[in-house]
């Protein structure tokens, strides 16, 4: 009864849900802010990309653990 693959699959799925939800919320506020003040669109885009990379870093932590699980 090898549950490692199942655990890796569940872990990756939950991580993707969390990451996509976070980045979606981030992108939506960035769109709202750009709509309100189009001159600041460049700054907002830069900050959005930085925040997206940080959130993705967190989800990749979990991905590394899932890969370790699946490889054992």
């Amino acid at each position: 009864m090898d549950f490692a693959y199942l655990a890796a699959g569940f872990g990756a799925a939950l991580t993707v849900i969390g990451g996509a939800f976070g980045i979606g919320k981030l992108a939506s506020s960035a769109m709202d802010a750009s709509g309100r003040q189009p001159e600041a669109a460049g700054d907002i885009r830069t900050s959005m990309i930085i925040a997206a990379a940080l959130i993705e870093g967190i989800s990749l932590f979990a991905l590394v653990i899932c890969i370790l699980l699946a490889l054992k």
Binding site: T46, I50, L54, L60, V64
Partner: protein
């Protein structure tokens, strides 16, 4: 066909897929470090092995590609530096280099470090160009990404850690630096806990830098290899157009990720340097 033979065909395909999908060793073979440079279908170059005091320091694929990145950077950037001796206006390829260098200095170093940023710009430029070149070399045919090795990214993060702590301690003094870690106006009984938490925070931030770069580079390669490997697992040519289209899309995304990850590493290093040097919360 009646229902029984359809069920037989489906279960046969599934069994075949399940059996074939077990040998995913070839994905790991392409991602992990190896002691040979492989150029299928032409040949294989075996790299020399060295053992020193029981530690394996043989030259592997990632080492060769790191050296290649260093040689490329030394050749290109020394030409750029020499071109500035004759005139302040760059010509040709030097224009692109000037754009990147000014981007690192004006958008990354100056806003985050503030006063005294010039001392740290050489290190930030080195990190940015080295990570960018290593990432891009991994995307070429027969290339191998040095930054997809946790040892390489951990070394880069360690060097960042040394620059951050060194910069902070040279500016604020060794004891003043640790005192500046604590927020202003803290009740005395909170000081031990806050000190432990802040010192732990000093270590987790470069650790996150290393893991972020490593995981981003490795994940992109795994997705491309898995998509292209679908053709071999399902053993049919009809999957090939779909598989290659998706793999091409992920490949373009990976070029973007290579640029963004180099930028993020440099930006976060610069942010931490700024937080260590100017410690006013």
């Amino acid at each position: 066909m009646d229902i029984n033979s359809t069920k037989a065909v489906v279960s046969d395909t599934l069994a075949h897929v399940a059996e074939k999908a077990q040998d995913t060793g070839w994905i790991m073979h392409h991602i992990l470090d190896g002691k040979e440079l492989e150029f299928p279908p032409f040949g294989v170059i075996h790299l020399p092995e060295f053992h020193l005091f029981g530690i394996d320091i043989s030259i592997t694929r990632h080492v060769v590609f790191m050296w290649l990145a260093v040689i490329i950077l030394v050749l290109v950037l020394s030409r750029v530096a020499r071109a500035y001796k004759t005139s302040m206006v760059p010509k040709g390829v030097n224009n692109v280099m000037e754009v990147l260098i000014l981007f690192v200095r004006d958008e990354i170093a100056r806003p985050t470090i503030g006063k005294g940023y010039e001392k740290f710009v050489p290190y930030l430029l080195t990190a940015f160009f080295f990570i960018l070149t290593c990432n891009f070399l991994g995307l070429l045919p027969y290339g191998s990404t040095a930054t997809s090795n946790i040892a390489v990214t951990a070394s880069l993060a360690t060097i960042s850690f040394i620059v951050i702590q060194g910069g902070g301690m040279m500016k604020n003094g060794a004891f003043g630096y640790f005192k500046g870690l604590l927020p202003h106006g803290l009740p005395f009984w909170l000081v031990p806990i806050m000190l432990v938490v802040e010192i732990l925070g000093l270590f987790t931030k470069p650790f996150a830098l290393a893991i972020r770069l490593f995981a981003n580079m490795t994940a992109g390669h795994i997705v491309i290899l898995a998509l292209l490997g679908l053709i071999f697992i399902l053993q049919t040519y009809f999957v090939a157009p779909v598989s290659i289209a998706f793999a091409l899309f992920i490949y373009l995304l990976e070029i973007l990720v290579a640029l963004i990850q180099a930028y993020i590493f440099t930006m976060l290093s610069s942010l931490f340097i700024g937080m260590a040097v100017h410690q006013e919360h």
